[in-house]
Symmetry: C2
Subunit: 215 residues, 2 copies
DNA sequence: AATCTTAGGCGTATGCCGTACACCTATGAG
DNA sequence: CTCATAGGTGTACGGCATACGCCTAAGATT
């Protein structure tokens, strides 16, 4: 009967993500999103309860786009690495939104579907029970932390700059490592760390323990 | 010559942390901290440039208290686990401040000293060059992610609740795993995940590769 | 003791923010 | 053509960080 809706949650999320990508996360506000859409600020509240929900929509937009179809080829470690890589790529495409994805990650349908896909591969690799729980959560932990380290750490370059100027007397190893760190690219670091974690997953740690693929 | 200072950065940081611990991170404001100290809001600006710096002080207060003296006993994996555990304990003692520690982690002197201690052990274990960089960053990633998963994830209980009510048809593994997850305590999960990561660190992967302690 | 100098402390004001509320209006149904 | 209804909007409020300028306490100097 009444007048029809002129917006959708999808359009609102897209507008919010556009603001974030263009002007940074700090510029995200209900006012900014409404301006982006050419409507009044309060119009948004016909579609979302509050700012939190809007942020959730943005995260779902980013994380929901991850392809969770299980890779068919390669050892189980390799297949998990593909799934993890897809997640990293999608999040990394919107670096300014990274803090949001961290805050609203729980309850995201995208993350749930991703977790399901990873679990399937872990199960196939011979893990079950608490060990599979720990493997999944450990992988999630690594991904969350690594993405943040990559995108939040060097935000200001403070960390790297601070490391470069350390007194070698007080921080001998750190000073030396800072030199090597510059030679390790972000991709290499991520893949290397992931390989490390995957190597640590004990596949088939049942009564008949058999070490996984490429030890 | 003029009147002496009545506050210190330490007292301000302690007051801010008290506000956070008591009323939550959302309640942290320049006003709240100044009230806590019994001074005017603007008085704080004689000691910190802005809110960001105040948050940094809080993080330093939390992270700077971590004992980074290297444990003398045990395999290198065990000694790193002790250092990691100390970090987790300090951060976990102020769960509401966790997001702050993540945002301001870089450039924290406490984290630098901790990293130095971990690097020393990794070096002793036979790692060097890029591999040591990756091992350190991988460990940091795991710790950051795990702490967040532990303290931010279950904040609202949304995630767990959502998992419990999943359709077993669409998420067969996740639904089953949710059951096991309830049996795994937070400590067990953290230690298990850490053991997994440590297991994946290739010690002494130089020309004369020798596998580390307790494979 | 009196004064001066100077930085610490504070009150006020500005421009953001999220959002509650009441109002107006476009619209499809009848 | 009318009307009920939900969508869209304008205004207003309280809270935030913080820029600015004033007042004042207290050590240094006389």
């Amino acid at each position: 009967m009444p007048r029809p809706r002129s917006l959708t949650q999808d359009r609102i999320a897209a507008a919010a993500l556009a603001v974030i990508d263009r002007d940074g996360l700090a510029a995200l506000s209900m006012r900014a999103v409404s301006t982006e859409l050419g409507v009044s600020t309060m119009a948004l509240y016909r579609y979302v309860d509050d700012r939190r929900e809007l942020e959730g929509l943005v995260v779902e937009l980013v994380l929901g786009g991850v392809d969770v179809s299980p890779p068919s080829e390669g050892a189980w470690q390799e297949r998990i690495a593909v799934l993890v890589g897809r997640m990293r790529d999608h999040v990394g495409a919107h670096p300014e939104a990274v803090p949001l994805t961290m805050i609203h990650r729980h309850g995201s349908a995208g993350v749930l579907r991703w977790s399901e896909a990873v679990l399937a591969i872990l199960a196939e690799a011979g893990l079950d029970g608490p060990e599979r729980v720990i493997a999944l959560r450990g992988l999630l932990s690594y991904v969350i932390g690594a993405v943040q380290l990559e995108h939040l750490g060097p935000l200001s370059g403070e960390g790297t700059a601070a490391m470069a100027g350390l007194s070698p007397a007080e921080f001998p190893h750190l000073a030396e490592t800072a030199g090597h760190a510059r030679l390790v690219g972000a991709d290499e670091e991520f893949r290397g760390g992931l390989a490390m974690v995957l190597r640590g997953i004990r596949a088939g740690a049942g009564p008949f323990r058999s070490r996984g693929g490429r030890g």
